[in-house]
């Protein structure tokens, strides 16, 4: 019921917004974040913006661990998406990541640090240049960005930086295959005294085929992504792919490289509850 009312509100808010009239007629933020206008100008500069629940952002209403809050952004309902971003408004570094889905489905999930209670947003840019923005409020005790990584408590952490764990599930009938990555890295923000910023900046997934390699998707990852980052992507490996390759680099020039084998015969495609859950099942969705 509440959701339905909100939808009506959204429909109102979505009477929008084009070209030069943008600034004056920009829709107001359903999450009432004090940072919204500044962030909009910074990250979507000049582009048309709509609030759109077709972009589904999943995150807990309260962060149990502010150093690793699970967040997923799913824009599959929009069809073809060119670029996605995740933003935590009140973080010292609000921009979490930019995702270039390439041939992949417009879905990305990871874990992020949050510094205090904040709006957490996902946005997807469609081919017409419009940013579709959605989000949820996440309450938090704070300190996620300025807490030292647990890694440093382990003396041998430096020996393990860049280690990759990964698994690819078989493609479903639509050709989409779930890929999960976990990379050992302190992913430090630089906000802790005496610890310089040290985080993964780029990650690129390619498919190896007999004819060469093809890029599937690319992530520009930033400070707020959790220590030992985990990503879930929905890639489309070509049918003749023999393996996937992950290439990446951190801000101190460290290289990340791993070869991810194709799923073993008989493995089953990943479960996808996200598609079967109706928005009404998501009580903390925008507008709460």
């Amino acid at each position: 019921m509440k959701y339905a009312l909100y939808q009506m509100g959204l429909a109102g808010a979505m009477i929008v917004v084009a070209g030069t009239a943008f600034a004056a007629s920009s829709p107001s933020d359903p999450l009432n974040s004090v940072m919204w206008e500044a962030l909009r100008d910074q990250y979507f500069a000049g582009a048309p913006v709509v609030f759109d629940n077709a972009v589904r952002v999943n995150a807990p209403a309260a962060a149990e661990d502010t150093r690793a809050v699970p967040v997923s952004v799913d824009a599959t309902a929009l069809g073809k998406v060119v670029e996605m971003v995740a933003i935590a408004d009140l973080n010292p570094f609000p921009l979490v990541l930019r995702y270039h889905p390439g041939t992949a489905a417009p879905y990305i999930a990871t874990r992020i640090k949050i510094q205090q209670a904040t709006a957490v947003r996902g946005a997807a840019r469609t081919a017409d240049g419009v940013w579709h923005v959605s989000g949820v409020m996440v309450d938090a005790a704070g300190g996620g960005c300025s807490a030292p990584p647990a890694s440093y408590a382990q003396k041998d952490w430096a020996d393990h930086v860049g280690e990759v764990q990964a698994r690819l599930w078989p493609a479903d009938t639509d050709g989409v295959a779930r890929l999960r990555l976990r990379i050992r890295h302190p992913n430090d923000t630089g906000l802790v005294d005496g610890i310089p910023a040290y985080f993964i900046e780029t990650l690129q997934v390619e498919a190896q085929t007999p004819g060469g390699s093809a890029e599937l998707a690319k992530i520009d990852s930033l400070e707020p992504v959790s220590e030992n980052p985990v990503y879930s992507l929905d890639v489309r490996p070509p049918p003749d792919a023999t393996a996937l390759v992950l290439r990446g680099r951190d801000n101190q020039g460290g290289e990340i490289r791993a070869t991810i084998p194709m799923p073993p015969p008989g493995a089953r495609p990943a479960m996808r509850p996200a598609m079967s859950l109706k928005p009404a099942d998501q009580p903390w969705s925008v507008g709460q």
């Binding site: 879930s232 479960m271 998501q282």
Partner: protein
């Protein structure tokens, strides 16, 4: 079922009354003085419990979500858990005083979670006993735990400081007056869980090992070990089971309920990891209807995803470089 409901109603009424007094006197403090309004219930000979809410910590309940208790022995009063704040501990001590003139002989703390021990300041003049692992846990995490309680329940915490238990105890049977208490050290719910069985009355204070109609919490849990703790409870001959959270019962139904929940939770998360689900998606997995009797179900489930998922996932992902 009726007790907690009545208690909730009583609390609501108390709050309404306080609010009205505040408004009538034009007091600067809008909500007036806070009180837990602790009333002991006699559950067995010499044995009393202060029954708390089955909710999460809120500014409305001040963190009173536990069943603390005391046993009046010929050798003085044995206190079990001291509550979430200094104020709770002080009110508890005053309420005990109304039942008996006997001095407090000893306090037992069952684990490191906030509602078990943050009221210990009110008992700083008597020995406060806990398992060594609980003492170490409070020394290490106590101030963070207290900070978080200030954030969650606010002014109820005023003046509360970390009071570390003073006396390590181990598995043993100790006699206080005519009561023989069996101290049972376990681990699973946390790294150090103390259950106390009063062999004289058959009352078992389970601490966090058993939850009753309240969703179990897992911030320090190792599920496989917790299930073994439940087996240990099954092996005990008891007349009354006092869980720290939830309803007091004369049977062991809630041992089975806690086991059922933990087994479902662990199995479901493992299956979800194995099936390629992401942690954020797992927050919304459907929960079987039979668990709807557990209070704060979805909230605690989501907290448990945060606690348990990363380790399960890490173990399920193969190294590829």
């Amino acid at each position: 079922m009726s007790m907690p409901l009545l208690r909730r109603l009583a609390l609501t009424t108390a709050f309404a009354a306080v609010m009205m007094i505040g408004a009538a006197t034009g007091s600067a403090r809008a909500a007036g003085p806070l009180t837990y309004d602790l009333k002991p219930t006699r559950i067995a000979p010499d044995t009393y419990v202060f029954e708390g809410s089955t909710k999460h910590f809120t500014r409305a309940n001040g963190g009173n979500i536990l069943n603390s208790g005391f046993i009046v022995t010929a050798d003085g009063v044995i206190v079990i858990q001291t509550g979430p704040s200094r104020r709770y501990g002080e009110e508890m001590r005053a309420a005990i005083r109304k039942v008996t003139e006997k001095p407090i002989r000893k306090v037992f703390i069952s684990n490191l979670h906030p509602d078990y021990w943050l009221g210990s300041q009110a008992f700083a003049d008597v020995p406060i006993a806990a398992l060594p692992g609980t003492i170490a846990g409070i020394q290490e995490e106590g101030s963070g735990i207290a900070d978080n309680m200030y954030r969650l329940v606010g002014d109820w915490m005023r003046g509360t400081e970390v009071t570390v238990p003073t006396e390590p105890v181990y598995g043993s049977t100790v006699k206080f007056g005519d009561h023989r208490l069996r101290l049972i050290p376990l681990s699973g719910h946390t790294a150090a869980d103390l259950m106390i069985l009063d062999e004289t009355t058959g009352v078992l204070f389970t601490g966090g090992v058993v939850f009753c109609d309240r969703t179990p919490t897992t911030p320090h849990a190792t599920v496989a070990d917790w299930l073994k703790e439940l087996d240990a409870v099954d092996g005990l001959d008891i007349r009354l089971l006092v869980p720290n959270h939830g309803h007091i019962r004369s049977d062991k139904a809630c041992v089975a309920q806690t086991r059922d929940w933990l087994t479902w939770l662990d199995g479901t998360l493992r299956h979800a990891v194995e099936s390629g689900l992401d942690m954020a998606e797992a927050l919304e997995l459907p929960i079987p209807e039979r668990f709807e009797v557990l209070d704060v179900l979805r909230e605690e489930y989501r907290r448990s995803v945060a606690h348990l998922w990363p380790k399960i996932e890490q173990a399920a992902l193969p190294r590829v470089n």
